[in-house]
C-alpha cells in the first residue's frame, strides 16, 4: 500500500463553460487530517462531491489507496471504506437515534435484502449501537426520533452513524457549519478521536478548527490549488491572504 490514501490527478469539473474545479492535484496522506479551504465559490464542495463520486468529473483521475475509483459508484465507495458526511446535518429524521446508527451497522450483516426475516434479527446489534451512542453522548436519546434533536445533536448523530461503519477514510463536508461554540469543541474532540488510525479529508470554514485539527491544508481558489502546506505555511502565504482579504498583500 502506498502512503497516499486519496489522490486526484488533473481533477476537472465543468458546468457548461464554467470550470468549477480545474486541474486539481491533491494528495491526502494516510492517517492525517487534511483540510480543504478557500473563499466562497472556490470549488471546495464540488471537489468534495467529485472525490466522493456524488458528481462525475469531466476529466482527471481519482485514486483510493492507489486504485482508480474514477468510475466507481458512491455506494460502492462506501463499501470500500470511504464514507462522507454532508454539509447540512444528514440523518434519517423519522427513525430513532438507535435506528439511525443501526442502519449503518446493519450493512455488515449482509441481510439488508432479506425482506422475509423479522426485524428482531437486528437486535444483536443493540449493544454495539448503545456503545456508539454513548461515545457521542446521545445514549439517553436513543429512543427519540432524530427529527426531534437539536441541530448540534443531529450532527453528533450523523457522526456516530458515520463512525459505525468503521471507515478507513472519512470525508467531512463543513462539519462545524451551524454549530454553537460549545458544540464545536465537542465535535473537534470527536473528530480528533475518530481520526486516530484513519484518514480524514474535510472542507471547513472555521479557521480555528482548521488550525487546530489539520496536518495539511490545501487552499483552493477559482477551482484551482492556490497553496498547500501546514497552517503556518498557508496562513503566511501572501497569495492566500490576498484571496481571503480580497486585497493585495
Amino acid at each position: 500500500m502506498t502512503d497516499i490514501a486519496i489522490e486526484t490527478e488533473g481533477l476537472t469539473k465543468q458546468f457548461g463553460g464554467f470550470y468549477a474545479v480545474q486541474g486539481v492535484n491533491l494528495q491526502v496522506k494516510r492517517h492525517t487530517i487534511h483540510a480543504l479551504i478557500g473563499p466562497n465559490g472556490a470549488g471546495k464542495s464540488t471537489c468534495f462531491n467529485l472525490i466522493t463520486k456524488f458528481l462525475q468529473p469531466s476529466s482527471g483521475k481519482i485514486r483510493l489507496n492507489g486504485q482508480d475509483i474514477t468510475t466507481t459508484k458512491p455506494a460502492a465507495l462506501a463499501r470500500r471504506g470511504m464514507v462522507r458526511s454532508f454539509q447540512i446535518s444528514s440523518v434519517f429524521p423519522h427513525l430513532t437515534c438507535a435506528e439511525n446508527v443501526r442502519v449503518a451497522l446493519q450493512r455488515q450483516m449482509h441481510n439488508s435484502f432479506k425482506f422475509w426475516k423479522p426485524e428482531s434479527v437486528l437486535h444483536e446489534l443493540d449493544d454495539e449501537v448503545d456503545e456508539i451512542l454513548k461515545s457521542v453522548g446521545l445514549w439517553d436519546m436513543r429512543g427519540a426520533m432524530a427529527v426531534e434533536l437539536s441541530y448540534g445533536r443531529k450532527r453528533l448523530l450523523e457522526l456516530a452513524t458515520t463512525l459505525a461503519l468503521k471507515p478507513e477514510v472519512l470525508l467531512f463536508d463543513e462539519p462545524m457549519a451551524g454549530m454553537s461554540t460549545g458544540d464545536i469543541q465537542m465535535v473537534v474532540d470527536l473528530i480528533r478521536k475518530a481520526a486516530e488510525g484513519r484518514t480524514v479529508l474535510m472542507v471547513e470554514h472555521n479557521m480555528g478548527v482548521v488550525a487546530d485539527l489539520s496536518d495539511t491544508i490545501t487552499v483552493l481558489q477559482r477551482g484551482q490549488v492556490l497553496a498547500e502546506g501546514s497552517y503556518e505555511e498557508v496562513s503566511n502565504n501572501p497569495e492566500v491572504r490576498a484571496a481571503y482579504m480580497g486585497g493585495h498583500a
Partner: protein, 339 residues
C-alpha cells in the same frame, strides 16, 4: 423497549379480535361485497408498501392489478387452472411485469417516476385492448371460481369470501414482514434520506426496485383474486382511473400505516357500493370526502388517530411527512425535513 413484550401481547390480542371480526362479518353483510373490500384493501396495502415505506408514488399500479386479473381469468377459464393456481399465475406475471416497469421507472425521481409508471401502465392498457385473449371491450366473462385444491367448491359466496380472506391475510402478512424486516429498515432509511443511505453504502436503486417488485406482485395477487369473486376481468381493472383510485384509498386511510390503506379501501368501496343509486354524484361525493380529509387530517384517518393517540400519551410521534409530498417533490404543509 421495556414495554415491548406487553406491546406485542396487545398487538396479538388486537390481531385476534380483528380476525374474529372478519370471520363473523359475512353473517351480517353480503359476502361478495366484503370479498371485494378485501381485494381492494390488499391492493391498497400493496401500493402503500411502495408509497409509504419507499416513498415512491407509482401512478401505474392498475397495470399490475388489471393485467394479473386477465392472466388469472384466462388461466382459470381457458386452461382450467384451480383457483389457487390461477392466482399464482397472475401473481407471478405481476412480479415479472413489476420487474420490467420498475427497472425502467426506478431511475427517475418524484413526479418523473410517477409519469413514467403512468406511461408504461397505459402501454399495458393498450395491450389489453388489442390482445385477443382479453376479448377487448367484453373482457373475460364467466370465469369459473372452481374448486380450491380441486376439492372445495368456491361457488358459494361464503366459500369465496373465506378463500379471499385467506389470500388477503397472506398478502398482508407478507407486507407486514417486509416492512418489519432488515430490508424494510434499509428501505425506510432510503425514504427518509436517500443520499445519506447511499453514502452508507446502500445502492438505493436496488432496494427501490425490490420494493417495487414486491408491491407489484401483491397488487397482482389482489387483482387475480378479484377475478374469482366477480367471475370477470375487464378493462376497468387496468385503466388509469384504477391507479388513481388506489392512491386515493391509501392517502385517505393513512400512508405509511399498516391499517390505513385497508380502512381507506373499505370506505371507498363502501361509498361506491351504497352510493351507486346516485350515479355520477358518487364521484363528486368521493372528491369532497377526499378534500375534506386532506384539509383536516393530512395523515389520513388511521394516521391521524395514531398521531392523536401517541400525543395524548406523550409518546414518540409517528411520521407526519408521509404524504406523497416527497414523491411529488412538494411538501404540502407536512414538511420533509432533511436537516
Amino acid at each position: 423497549m421495556a414495554s415491548k413484550t406487553s406491546g406485542n401481547w396487545k398487538g396479538w390480542a388486537q390481531f385476534a379480535v380483528a380476525i374474529a371480526a372478519l370471520i363473523v362479518l359475512p353473517f351480517f353483510l353480503y359476502p361478495v361485497f366484503l370479498a371485494k373490500v378485501l381485494c381492494f384493501a390488499l391492493f391498497a396495502a400493496a401500493f402503500n408498501l411502495l408509497l409509504g415505506f419507499a416513498g415512491l408514488l407509482s401512478f401505474g399500479h392498475a397495470a399490475f392489478f388489471g393485467f394479473s386479473a386477465y392472466v388469472s381469468a384466462h388461466a382459470a377459464k381457458e386452461w382450467g387452472f384451480t383457483p389457487e393456481l390461477a392466482i399464482l399465475a397472475g401473481t407471478v406475471v405481476a412480479a415479472f411485469l413489476g420487474a420490467v416497469i420498475g427497472l425502467l421507472a426506478i431511475r427517475r425521481q418524484g413526479i418523473y417516476f410517477a409519469m413514467v409508471t403512468l406511461a408504461l401502465a397505459q402501454m399495458v392498457f393498450f395491450i389489453c385492448i388489442q390482445a385477443p385473449f382479453t376479448h377487448g371491450e367484453d373482457g373475460i366473462q364467466g370465469v369459473p371460481r372452481g374448486h380450491f385444491l380441486g376439492i372445495v367448491d368456491l361457488e358459494s359466496n361464503f366459500a369465496i369470501y373465506y378463500f379471499v380472506l385467506a389470500v388477503f391475510l397472506i398478502g398482508v402478512m407478507v407486507i407486514y414482514r417486509t416492512v418489519h424486516s432488515p430490508f424494510g429498515q434499509v428501505l425506510k432509511s432510503i425514504r427518509e434520506n436517500e443520499p445519506r443511505a447511499i453514502s452508507l453504502g446502500y445502492d438505493a436503486d436496488r432496494y427501490k426496485l425490490m420494493a417495487f417488485i414486491l408491491s407489484a406482485t401483491i397488487a397482482g395477487m389482489a387483482g387475480s383474486t378479484k377475478v374469482l369473486v366477480f367471475k370477470l376481468a375487464s378493462l376497468t381493472d387496468v385503466a388509469w382511473q384504477m391507479s388513481g383510485e388506489v392512491v386515493l384509498m391509501t392517502i385517505l386511510g393513512g400512508v405509511g400505516t399498516m391499517l390505513g390503506p385497508i380502512v381507506g379501501a373499505s370506505i371507498i368501496v363502501t361509498m361506491q357500493n351504497y352510493l351507486a343509486e346516485v350515479g355520477q354524484l358518487t364521484l363528486i361525493i368521493q372528491g369532497l370526502v377526499f378534500m375534506f380529509c386532506v384539509l383536516l387530517f393530512r395523515r389520513g384517518i388511521v394516521g391521524e388517530i395514531k398521531h392523536r393517540w401517541t400525543q395524548m400519551r406523550g409518546g414518540k410521534d409517528e411520521p407526519a411527512h408521509l404524504s406523497p409530498g416527497k414523491a411529488t417533490g412538494e411538501t404540502d404543509g407536512a414538511p420533509v425535513t432533511h436537516g
